[in-house]
C-alpha cells in the first residue's frame, strides 16, 4: 500500500523531470554558447565573482549578482557580462553592456532555473580578454505541486 509520503514524492519527481535535459549534450552546448559570446577569444577562469545561493528553494525566481573588480576607466574596464546556463530549454540567460560610465562592473537580476545545473558568467574586457566563473546550483522542488 502506497503511503501518502510516497505519492507526494512521486508527484514531485514527475514534475521535476519536465524540463531537465541529458547532461552530456548540455555541457557541449554550454561551452559553445560561452565560446560564441567570447568571439573565439580563449576564456580564462578568474576575475569574475558570481553570487548565487548554492541551494535554491524555488527555481522560478533566483537572485544573482555578477561582479568584476575593475577600475572601470577608459583604459581598463569591463565591456560586457553574460550569463549562461546548462539545463534550461535555452542556454542564454542575459547579456549586459557596460563601460567606463558604469563606475563599477556589478549587475544583479533574478533568473529561472529549470532544475539543478551549472551556470557560467563571462566578462569581456576592453583589452579583448575574456574571463569566467562557473557555479553549481542545487534547486529543490516546491513541496506542494499545485496550480
Amino acid at each position: 500500500m502506497m503511503k501518502r509520503r510516497d505519492v507526494i514524492g512521486a508527484a514531485a519527481g514527475l514534475v521535476g523531470l519536465v524540463w531537465v535535459r541529458p547532461a552530456t549534450a548540455d555541457a557541449d552546448e554550454l561551452a559553445a554558447a560561452v565560446a560564441a559570446f567570447a568571439g573565439g577569444v580563449p576564456v580564462r577562469a578568474g576575475r569574475v565573482e558570481f553570487d548565487i545561493a548554492p541551494l535554491v528553494e524555488n527555481g522560478n525566481t533566483v537572485p544573482v549578482t555578477v561582479r568584476v573588480p575593475s577600475p572601470m576607466t577608459e583604459a581598463d574596464h569591463v565591456t560586457a557580462i553574460a550569463i549562461f546556463n546548462q539545463r534550461n530549454p535555452q542556454r542564454d540567460v542575459a547579456n549586459f553592456t557596460l563601460g567606463p560610465r558604469a563606475g563599477r562592473a556589478t549587475v544583479s537580476t533574478r533568473i529561472r532555473l529549470a532544475g539543478s545545473q551549472q551556470l557560467v558568467a563571462v566578462a569581456k574586457m576592453n583589452d579583448g580578454s575574456c574571463w569566467s566563473k562557473t557555479v553549481d546550483v542545487l534547486v529543490t522542488l516546491a513541496a506542494c505541486v499545485e496550480p
Binding site: 541551494l55 524555488n58 529543490t140 499545485e146
Partner: protein, 241 residues
C-alpha cells in the same frame, strides 16, 4: 475592559501555539528570499503597492484622504463583521465592491493592487482581530474547517501546519501558515496573490475540490487564521517561495 477580557478569553481558547513559539513564513525562508522581502527597492510586490498608490489617488483619496493616516491599522482588524450581510467580511471583499457598480474580480491586478496598498499601511502593526462577539460562531466554524481532513490525501490543515510545522515536505520547510503578509508575491506563481488563492491551492494540493472564490468557508478560515496569528506583525507585501 469587558471587550479586552472577551478577546483574551477567546484567544485563550485558541489551541496549539503559544505566542513565543509562533513563526512567520518569513522565518522559514532562505536568506536570499528574506532579503527580497526586506528591501522595498527589490521586492517585486512593491509593483502592486505602487499601482495601488496610483489607484488610491484616483479613486479613493477624495473620500479617504491620505491612506497612511486613514488606512493605518485597518488591515490588522480584518476580517470584520459586516452589519449589512450579518457575516464576516475580508478586506479583499470589502474593497472589491466598495463604491463600484461592478465589483473588482478576485485575483485581478486591480483588486490586488488596492488591497496591497491598503494592507501596506498596516505593515509592522500586530494582527488585531476585533473583539466582536458576533464573529465568534464564524471563527469557531473556521477552526473546525482547519481541523477537518479533506481531499484524496485526507489531510487537515492542522496536520501539516500545527503537528508537522518545521519539518520538511519535498525540499521545503512546512510553515505554521500564519497570514502575516497578504497580499504577497509568491515565487512559485511569479505573481501577486491573495490568501484565498493560497487556501484554494492548498486544497488542490491535498486533492480536494477547493471552495469557490468568496465562499463563506474561506472567510471563516481566514477569520480563524487571523485569530490564531493575533499579535504577529503584518509584513505586507511579503515574498514567499
Amino acid at each position: 475592559m469587558k471587550r479586552l477580557a472577551l478577546l483574551l478569553l477567546t484567544l485563550g481558547a485558541m489551541p496549539a501555539l503559544a505566542a513565543d513559539a509562533r513563526r512567520s513564513g518569513y522565518d522559514d525562508m532562505s536568506p536570499q528570499v528574506q532579503a527580497m522581502q526586506r528591501d522595498d527597492g527589490v521586492n517585486p510586490a512593491m509593483l502592486w503597492v505602487k499601482e495601488g498608490e496610483a489607484m488610491w489617488a484616483r479613486d479613493c483619496a477624495r473620500c479617504h484622504g491620505d491612506a497612511a493616516t486613514s488606512m493605518r491599522g485597518v488591515a490588522a482588524r480584518y476580517p470584520a463583521f459586516d452589519a449589512a450581510t450579518q457575516h464576516p467580511i475580508t478586506l479583499s471583499q470589502r474593497i472589491a465592491s466598495h463604491q463600484r457598480a461592478t465589483p473588482l474580480a478576485p485575483e485581478s491586478d486591480a483588486l490586488l493592487s488596492i488591497e496591497s496598498y491598503v494592507a501596506f499601511q498596516s505593515r509592522g502593526l500586530p494582527i488585531a482581530p476585533p473583539a466582536d462577539p458576533r464573529l465568534q460562531p464564524f471563527r469557531e466554524r473556521g477552526e473546525q474547517l482547519y481541523r477537518r481532513r479533506i481531499g484524496q490525501l485526507d489531510f487537515s490543515c492542522a496536520q501539516c501546519h500545527d503537528e508537522h510545522a518545521g519539518q520538511h515536505l519535498g525540499g521545503s520547510t512546512i510553515p505554521q501558515a500564519h497570514p502575516t503578509g497578504y497580499p504577497m508575491y509568491r515565487l512559485e506563481w511569479q505573481g501577486m496573490a491573495s490568501l484565498q488563492r493560497r487556501l484554494r491551492s492548498c486544497m488542490n494540493g491535498v486533492r480536494a475540490e477547493p471552495f469557490a472564490h468568496g465562499a463563506p468557508e474561506l472567510v471563516e478560515l481566514e477569520l480563524y487564521l487571523n485569530a490564531r496569528a493575533a499579535g504577529m506583525r503584518i509584513e505586507t507585501p511579503a515574498v514567499r517561495p
